[in-house]
Symmetry: none
């Protein structure tokens, strides 16, 4: 039942803690509508086994999302995406999602040896060339 597989990609030497990566990616998949409100997430143990990490690490990620009111963890029952994300949560979630995406981008850029200047310059250039609305 409804255990969409939630394919997460962990990078064990990316500098970001595993629990952060899990939380970020679940959040991102929600914003991306890959998972939807009301859906049940895998149990801490199931996801942990799939990702080959300790289930407490998954639990920690879930706790973060729970505190952010994105999911609801219920002892003995499971973990579910919050049904109706309140508007202020949505706003927060939106912001957090962009923040996480940006952080990943920068971590990767720095990992490739680029400097802040270079990143900043490239972003400006790229934004200028882009045809998106402001």
């Amino acid at each position: 039942m409804a255990n969409k597989k939630l394919t997460l990609q962990l990078d064990h030497h990316s500098g970001l803690p595993i629990y952060t990566q899990i939380a970020d990616q679940i959040q991102s998949q929600l914003v991306n509508k890959i998972i939807k409100p009301g859906e049940q997430l895998p149990t801490v143990r199931a996801l942990a086994q799939e990702l080959r990490v300790n289930f407490n690490t998954v639990a920690r990620a879930y706790r973060i999302l729970d505190q952010a009111r994105i999911i609801s963890t219920q002892q003995g029952r499971g973990t579910y995406i919050i049904e109706i994300p309140p508007p202020e949560i949505s706003k927060k979630l939106r912001h957090a999602s962009l923040s996480a995406l940006t952080k990943r981008f920068m971590t990767e850029a720095f990992r490739l040896g680029f400097s802040k200047r270079e990143v900043s310059h490239m972003v400006r250039t790229s934004l200028k060339l882009n045809k998106e609305p402001n």
Copy 2:
């Protein structure tokens, strides 16, 4: 696994600080492909014990390599050789690689419905908060 022993040769009377010798030799072993990107280095304590030095000395060597973007040290997790192929890629390739990375980032951001303004603002904020050198 993969705790290749990292046989380093220290000379306590060479005039060169221990931490310099450690850092230099690790770097040299990387250049000589004795150790490879992605690999985990011994923990500061393990290497310290092997070399009969204080683990702070190893930590200092690691910090130097970390700042030089050769390794990535992660509190609570360990120390890893940076993944990148850090050879002197040509300027053009370098530029292209950052460009591609940036484009992917923006495509994703726009797909999630963020505006140029939002992206720009988040990038600035994120750059400001980041501890990277310029």
